[in-house]
């Protein structure tokens, strides 16, 4: 049915989000634990090392893991409080079936009943509408082993082409751009290169809130005298201290980078030796920015021309430099082009393959890097292989022991799967660790699509807003309840260790998938007795691919504090820095310049919708908030979305901080409190996206996709803002009390 079985209020009353405020036993209980388990934080691609304190079968606290080299004990607030997602009143403990007659909308059922129902519905839908009419959505909160298993499960057990993942909302623009320009989809540097840079250029990355540990690397560079350039429509906490701040208009990143390349060429700062020896197509890239003078750039981006020239001088004349970018330039209908415009700056100045040099994406999701490498992306097979490449398919078929024709072709991307559901082409869905109702753009459309599903099954540990629409919910495992590996922002494979077993009758995700595969009659391909056995097959499947894990073992990964891929054979030390000596990963060893001509975003402002909306994260919440909106101390830090706007805009609207404003786009309308700050462009408003329903920023955002990466354009929409009724007290981040205007008087 995929509609809510009972009212949202009844669902929330039973399944949350409720707030876990204190560790098991309460704050007054003595600090008492049996053991400390070395593992990593589940929130974000930094994958900080952390020690979880375990008492019996509960995680009761944490201790900094000083010896893990990436973060040396440092953690953001999410990492500090992540342990409160355990022993949680909302934790799903038994399989559930949709039941409009039950008070809370679901009734419990046995695993046999639940799994048989899922399998029979898969069969019914696929018999009626074809194999591809049943789709799967996955998430990169999953380990490499589970990501690999999901990829194999969808292709060989469900036999559907339509598998995609929520990494589609993360770094896919960078993935495509890096692969085509440089031959490999990975940040080219270990983070230890950042302190060696003479200039650090942060473009579209709110490092302080979305990758907090990276700030310490940038400060280490600055302690050596490095200059910092930041390009962002907001003065983020890191931008505040920058040497050069480029406060650009949303959607103009490629114009900014094109102008910088133009200035670099005009001033003779191009590293001709590097360009001639290690790249091709520089001429085309130069021709594409011939018209991008500083005054043109200033007009398009809104950044004063002298600042653009100064940024170009710093980047162009520094011996070493790192350009770090994230969703701010990637969440665009030209996300790939934006990344290419950055890569072009790195190639033109020879900033690759040396210490302190590189253009790197800051992967946002926990296992965003590793997840896509292992093949649960609609166009990829394990080892970052291409699902349309006959040789790649043949190799993976040989590992899987199947006929090559049994591997389906390229499927639809995440947003396109939802559109196909809306169109009635996809009738059934299995989702694991993905909350599209909150995280996909145009949430009203997503809700309409869910309503059209004939059958919807979910594997998750909490009943997310999307899972509320499910017919069957299978309780899976939290990060700390399973073991395996994940791959961090640096391309470093690390070991996730199990701290506790799943509670109640919840099961490990991989066991659920294998059980389903058995019942689908495809058990011969899933003879795994442990995640370690999955890892062993995964590294063989990756062998010879660009993301080659073949030489890794769990034991080595732990002993060596992680291993950077590629690690093609036993004893290989791994590859922290890519492209050493200017040898790129294309067969001819050369990098490709890609000509980038700036073009506007899919939606531009007009008289009806005169302002730019850009969306993003706050430091205390993670993605769709399924976990972090259930952790009391994190919710208290930033309880609900605020609409940031400049005092000049607020003045014309007659709005003060705390006033409720109505923000409308062509997709929808929401009301929320304003926060009037001088740290955002006057033509732009910002809303964080972690909340569901009436508080969802994605009610407003646009489903326009990048033609290559299929990433949605979260970072640019056209909106109208008006004053609405009501006012709340906003003290710093904390929204303390809802008050009506009458009460205020």
């Amino acid at each position: 049915m995929a509609r809510l079985p009972v009212s949202e209020e009844a669902l929330i009353q039973r399944y949350g989000p409720h707030l876990n405020e204190a560790p098991p036993g309460g704050w007054d209980a003595a600090v008492d634990f049996d053991r400390q388990v070395r593992t990593h934080c589940c929130f974000c691609g930094q994958q900080c090392g952390i020690k979880l304190k375990v008492k019996g079968t509960e995680v009761v606290g944490f201790e900094p893991w000083y010896d893990f080299p990436f973060n040396e004990g440092k953690l953001c607030p999410k990492g500090v409080k992540r342990y409160l997602q355990g022993a949680h009143p909302d934790r799903l403990l038994e399989p559930l079936g949709r039941d409009p007659g039950a008070a809370a909308g679901f009734s419990s059922m046995s695993w046999d009943q639940a799994l048989d129902r899922v399998v029979s519905e898969i069969g019914r839908i696929q018999d009626s509408y074809g194999k591809d009419a049943f789709a799967m959505l996955s998430g990169v909160s999953l380990t490499n082993e589970k990501s690999y298993l999901v990829g194999k499960f969808a292709r060989l057990a469900l036999q559907t082409a339509n598998l995609d993942y929520n990494g589609r909302l993360c770094m896919v623009s960078a993935g495509v751009a890096n692969k085509r320009a440089l031959g490999m989809d990975r940040a080219p540097n270990p983070w230890s290169d950042i302190p060696l840079a003479d200039v650090v250029f942060v473009a579209g990355a709110n490092v302080a809130e979305c990758a907090p540990i990276t700030t310490s690397y940038i400060w280490r560079a600055r302690d050596r005298g490095a200059k910092l350039i930041v390009a962002d429509p907001r003065v983020t906490p890191l931008a505040r201290t920058a040497d050069v701040f480029l406060g650009l208009r949303p959607g103009t990143d490629s114009a900014l980078m094109g102008t910088i390349l133009h200035v670099i060429i005009e001033n003779g700062w191009v590293d001709r030796g590097f360009v001639d020896a290690h790249t091709i197509d520089f001429g085309a890239a130069a021709e594409a920015v011939q018209h991008c003078s500083p005054s043109w750039g200033a007009t398009v981006t809104g950044v004063p021309a002298d600042r653009i020239v100064e940024a170009a001088r710093l980047w162009g004349t520094s011996e070493t430099g790192m350009l770090l970018h994230a969703r701010g330039i990637e969440h665009h209908s030209k996300g790939v082009e934006n990344v290419w415009s950055c890569i072009n700056l790195g190639l033109a100045t020879g900033k690759y393959g040396r210490p302190g040099c590189g253009v790197a994406t800051i992967t946002g999701q926990g296992n965003g890097q590793g997840g896509r490498e292992q093949g649960h992306k609609c166009d990829q097979l394990p080892g970052n292989r291409d699902i349309t490449n006959p040789e790649h398919r043949a190799y993976v078929a040989s590992v899987w022991g199947c006929d090559v024709d049994e591997i389906p072709g390229k499927g639809l991307s995440a947003e396109e799967i939802v559109e196909a559901i809306h169109d009635g082409k996809i009738r059934g869905l299995l989702s694991i660790c993905f909350n599209p109702l909150v995280s996909l753009p145009d949430s009203r459309f997503t809700a309409e699509a869910l309503g059209k599903l004939e059958f919807f099954a979910v594997i998750d540990f909490f009943l997310s807003e999307t899972a509320q629409h499910a017919d069957i919910v299978l309780p899976g495992s939290l990060h700390e309840e399973d073991e395996g590996t994940s791959t961090s922002v640096e391309g470093r494979a690390i070991k996730i260790n199990q701290a506790i077993p799943p509670p109640g009758s919840a099961r490990l995700d991989w066991e659920i998938l294998i059980d389903l595969a058995d019942r689908l009659g495809r058990g011969q391909y899933f003879q795994f007795g442990s995640t370690h056995e999955i890892f062993d097959e995964m590294r063989v499947a990756s062998r010879g691919g660009t993301a080659d894990y073949y030489g890794m073992t769990w034991e080595r990964i732990e002993a060596e504090d992680g291993i950077f891929w590629p690690c093609p054979e036993a004893g290989h030390p791994g590859t922290p820095r890519l492209y050493e000596g200017g040898r790129f990963a294309h067969p001819d060893g050369k990098a490709r310049f890609n000509p980038v001509r700036h073009r506007p975003p899919a939606e531009v402002t007009d008289d009806e919708y005169p302002l730019w909306l850009t969306t993003g994260r706050v430091v205390s919440q993670y993605l769709s908030g399924t976990q972090t909106r259930r952790i009391g101390p994190l919710v208290e830090q930033y309880p609900e979305p605020l609409c940031e706007m400049h005092p000049r805009l607020a003045g014309t609207l007659g709005v003060a901080t705390g006033d409720i404003v109505r923000v409308s786009s062509r997709r929808g309308t929401m009301e929320l409190p304003a926060r009037v700050v001088e740290t955002i462009r006057p033509d732009t408003v910002f809303i964080p996206y972690h909340w569901p329903g009436a508080k969802a920023a994605n009610q407003l955002t646009n489903r326009a996709l990048d033609p290559l990466s299929r990433i949605p354009e979260y970072k640019v929409s056209a909106v109208r803002v008006e004053r609405a009724q009501g006012h709340v007290q906003v003290r710093d981040r904390r929204v303390t009390a809802l008050q009506t205007e009458a009460e205020l008087r």
Partner: protein
């Protein structure tokens, strides 16, 4: 006097703070005051800037909090670390809360006692970093030896702050970039820098 706790010193560089509150969240995880965060973190003026300021106890040489305590409940230990009020003596009057020039002590109605940052004495006394300086992502809060500071960090350290005519020597160091200029004034942009006009609104953008 020595600024060292064991062989290490606590340092604050307010200019590096990113306001993430990892310190606030981690402080209440400390074993001696679970559930009660004793560190302070404030926006200077969010309408103007994202600048935030973390404040741990500066561990004054002659602590004002102890001087104004009518019950003589606030003591320094042998390393000069200023402790929370002694529970049997504390009368909950909050004189210390009002008098501390840094606004550090906190009064808790339950258990009717002033509690304050003790530099995680349970950790620092056994060679571990305090919780806040352990987790701080930007290392605005830093704990280490003076040699390490000199080798890895920009800026100089001052160990005395002035409030009117009162000089307050502290064990906690404050980072300054020009030692003769005193602490960094984060509220007033330096003229000529972009912070005066982040979006070029006053400049003539064509």
């Amino acid at each position: 006097m020595s600024h060292l706790i064991s062989d290490r010193v606590f340092v604050i560089d307010q200019s590096r703070c990113i306001g993430c509150e990892a310190c606030v969240q981690a402080c209440e995880e400390c074993g001696t005051h679970r559930g009660q965060s004793l560190i302070h973190l404030e926006y200077i003026d969010r309408a103007m800037s994202t600048q935030t300021a973390p404040m741990v106890c500066m561990h004054c040489e002659d602590p004002t909090c102890a001087e104004v305590c009518p019950a003589d409940a606030i003591k320094q230990n042998e390393n000069g670390v200023v402790q929370s009020a002694l529970k049997p003596r504390c009368i909950g009057c909050s004189n210390c809360v009002l008098a501390c020039p840094f606004g550090v002590p906190k009064y808790f109605s339950r258990p009717d006692q002033m509690m304050k940052c003790d530099m995680c004495y349970d950790r620092s006394s056994v060679g571990l970093k305090p919780m806040c300086a352990s987790v701080c992502p930007s290392q605005a809060l830093w704990f280490g030896t003076l040699d390490e500071f000199g080798a890895t960090r920009e800026g100089a350290l001052i160990f005395e702050l002035r409030f009117g005519n009162q000089a307050v020597p502290t064990k906690v160091g404050t980072v300054v970039h020009d030692i003769s200029a005193g602490p960094i004034n984060v509220t007033v942009p330096v003229p000529g820098l972009w912070q005066e006009d982040p979006f070029g609104l006053e400049a003539a953008v064509p």
